[in-house]
């Protein structure tokens, strides 16, 4: 699987544009737009975690929604059953995601390609089934009554504040992932994706690098899950269904795998289009499907590729 070439500057530029438009929407939007914005930011976090995993490490996870679920359920349980402060819940969710992700990663990273896809799918589905039938986790009905944190005297149950809070988290995660992407670990992941045998023979611990990045990615997904639970006030097993992972993958492919900002753009575009199409007609899936096919046929590197082309065009005509 090819990741797009990195163009650090463009990546940052795009990210800044996206953040600015988010602030704009937040200021001028109504209650629902703010909610939608929050949801999109959370999805962007999830998409970035997948993008890092697939784009850098070449690990395509079709069970990554499991970590959304882990984050969301641990937040719910810590809050409802143990009465822990919501902000702390999110932090703990990240730690739990990191640890579980690393451990799982350690076992499964020796598989590759489709086998990796399938083993993640299997784990994800097992988690989903477990949540679906487990009474402690609320079974198919899930758990409700989850509240958002109060930070620095601000009640994040107010949508305006919550979306700013999410935006700050998005910036932090972006900065973190961008740094990791360019770091030796990031480059080694690139190298592993292209030729893992050679990295081994150069003395790189392929297994360690891969499971570490799986853990990192899981932690971010888990954060997204925790935030999603707080956004909605409830969590249900659907959050960890494999189709959610599938939609995440769609977002990053549409955006352009491996470009981070592209993943966010993909999340924004896919989510908004899906939302709008589904209001328009009952057969919106048909439209979406057609859209995906067009992207594959005409946008080789997704929207990111399009932007790259646009940039080159501008440079050439200068």
């Amino acid at each position: 699987m090819n990741a797009v070439q990195y163009d650090k500057k463009l990546r940052l530029q795009l990210f800044i544009i996206l953040c600015c438009s988010a602030i704009f929407v937040n200021i001028f939007g109504d209650y629902f737009t703010r909610f939608l914005l929050s949801e999109i930011i959370i999805l962007s976090l999830f998409a970035m975690s997948l993008d890092f995993l697939a784009g850098r490490g070449g690990m395509i996870s079709l069970g990554h929604a499991m970590f959304l679920g882990i984050g969301a359920y641990s937040t719910a349980i810590l809050f409802i059953n143990f009465n822990i402060d919501p902000f702390l819940c999110s932090l703990l969710a990240v730690v739990i995601g990191l640890i579980i992700g690393y451990l799982i990663g350690f076992i499964i990273v020796k598989t590759d390609g489709i086998f990796f896809i399938m083993i993640t799918l299997a784990l994800g589905e097992m988690f989903h089934s477990w949540a679906y039938t487990n009474d402690f986790l609320g079974g198919s009905d899930g758990i409700s009554g989850i509240l958002r944190p109060k930070l620095l005297g601000m009640d994040l149950n107010e949508p305006l504040f919550f979306s700013y809070y999410l935006l700050i988290l998005l910036i932090l995660v972006y900065a973190f992932l961008a740094a990791v992407t360019d770091s030796p670990l990031g480059r080694n992941l690139d190298a592993i994706r292209q030729n893992s045998g050679r990295v081994l023979s150069l003395g790189g611990s392929v297994k360690l690098y891969k499971s570490a990045s799986f853990g990192i990615s899981a932690a971010i997904a888990s954060l997204a899950g925790s935030l999603y639970a707080q956004l909605n006030g409830f969590v249900s097993p659907e959050i960890s269904h494999w189709t959610v992972s599938g939609e995440g993958l769609i977002m990053i492919i549409v955006g352009g795998i491996g470009s981070l900002s592209g993943a966010i753009l993909g999340a924004v575009v896919v989510h908004i289009i899906q939302h709008e199409f589904s209001k328009l007609v009952d057969w919106w899936m048909l439209l979406m499907g057609g859209g995906f096919i067009l992207v594959v046929l005409f946008l080789k590197e997704g929207l990111w590729g399009l932007i790259l082309k646009f940039k080159n065009y501008i440079i050439e005509n200068k």
Partner: protein, 371 residues
């Protein structure tokens, strides 16, 4: 000045595998609105459809949009219980009257009840509980329970189990199959057959209902025991596909198409004329939802400015619908309605549901609810 439209937000699955139920409910609701030409006291009735995709998180988003952006006056719908529970806190905190048109989770009108939530469909307990004593009386001494492994399935089974055991029956085994993932009941049918029970009591819907009935037939299950259960298993939506395999099934439900009241005959005629098929129990729930909305709005002369009043008015409505007289239980806001016990029998037009018994004015006990 021109009066604003009365907006009814429909929170239903319109895409994917369960879209048929969303369709049925909406169709019939439109029928009810057509009877008043979409107009109440000079205000137009407007239906805004929102596709939940059968997913709680999507539904919650759509509900937010309906409430905050579309500013609907009343929210109606939800097929799935988890969807209803997901939007529960939202409608209560925004004081939006919410008419539950299908979702049957008991808690909606028990622990999680609210004066803004009015259920015109049923509670899972309400449907299945009367079947316990009835079957015991019918001569069934032992039963095997089978349903899909999710909250609704388990609630229905436990409702039946509690009353059946209280009437002296015995459950000899129970099995919960992966929800919406079971295509082949072969592995279960073998066990059920060899359990020696007098009857199997099942609840399935959709493709699972069709497959279960057909496969039970092909394995000759009816030769050794009675096949009984919650009536959706042989809903008019599925009978055309189940065909003869459904014959002999004894079920219980809040509605069967063969009820011979003038309300029902008229309703079935109108539905068939417009949509070309027999209306299912889902359609009836949609129709009654529409009727209740119309009645409540009429008595308020179309004034929806006070949501609390609107919710109160909705819970006071009592109508005679296709399934018989309906009133809302003031203790729980759950509907009080008749239950019909039927058997699938053959007729010139293929299998039909023949009513064996009618149990009147069934309520949900509503434990734990305080409005």
């Amino acid at each position: 000045s021109k009066a604003e439209n009365l907006k009814i937000g429909m929170l239903l699955p319109y895409s994917g595998a369960v879209a048929i139920i969303g369709e049925e409910i909406t169709n019939a609701l439109e029928l009810a609105f057509e009877e008043v030409n979409y107009e109440i006291s000079g205000r137009k009735l407007e239906i805004i459809r929102a596709d939940t995709e059968y997913k709680p998180n999507i539904a919650l988003k759509k509900a937010r949009e309906l409430i905050f952006s579309k500013k609907v006056d009343i929210l109606a719908g939800t097929v799935s219980s988890s969807v209803a529970l997901a939007v529960r806190d939202l409608v209560v905190s925004t004081k939006t009257p919410f008419i539950v048109a299908n979702a049957g989770a008991n808690q909606i009108t028990r622990k999680k009840c609210s004066k803004y939530i009015i259920r015109v469909s049923f509670s899972n307990y309400q449907i299945n509980a009367p079947m316990g004593p009835w079957l015991a009386n019918y001569g069934i001494k032992t039963a095997f329970l089978l349903s899909a492994n999710y909250a609704a399935g388990k609630e229905q089974m436990s409702a039946f189990k509690s009353t059946f055991e209280a009437s002296g029956g015995k459950i000899v085994g129970e099995e919960y199959t992966p929800h919406r993932k079971t295509k082949d009941f072969g592995p279960y049918l073998g066990r059920i057959k060899s359990s020696g029970a007098d009857a199997v009591y099942v609840f399935y819907a959709g493709g699972e209902a069709i497959n279960f009935i057909k496969q039970a037939h092909s394995f000759g299950l009816a030769d050794v025991m009675k096949i009984t259960g919650a009536g959706w298993t042989t809903s008019p939506l599925f009978i055309p596909a189940q065909k003869k395999a459904a014959l002999g099934f004894i079920g219980i439900l809040n509605y069967v198409p063969s009820i011979e009241t003038k309300e029902n005959l008229e309703f079935q005629r109108a539905y068939k004329e417009k949509f070309g098929r027999i209306a299912s129990e889902f359609a009836v729930q949609g129709y009654d939802t529409g009727k209740m909305i119309v009645e409540a709005l009429k008595s308020l002369s179309g004034d929806t400015s006070n949501k609390e009043l609107l919710a109160e008015e909705l819970s006071k409505v009592s109508i005679i619908g296709p399934r018989g007289p309906l009133t809302i239980d003031p203790k729980t806001n759950n509907v009080i309605q008749n239950m019909y016990i039927f058997e699938v029998v053959n007729s010139a037009n293929g299998p039909v549901l023949k009513i064996l018994d009618k149990i009147e004015a069934v309520k949900d006990p509503g434990t734990g609810c305080s409005l």
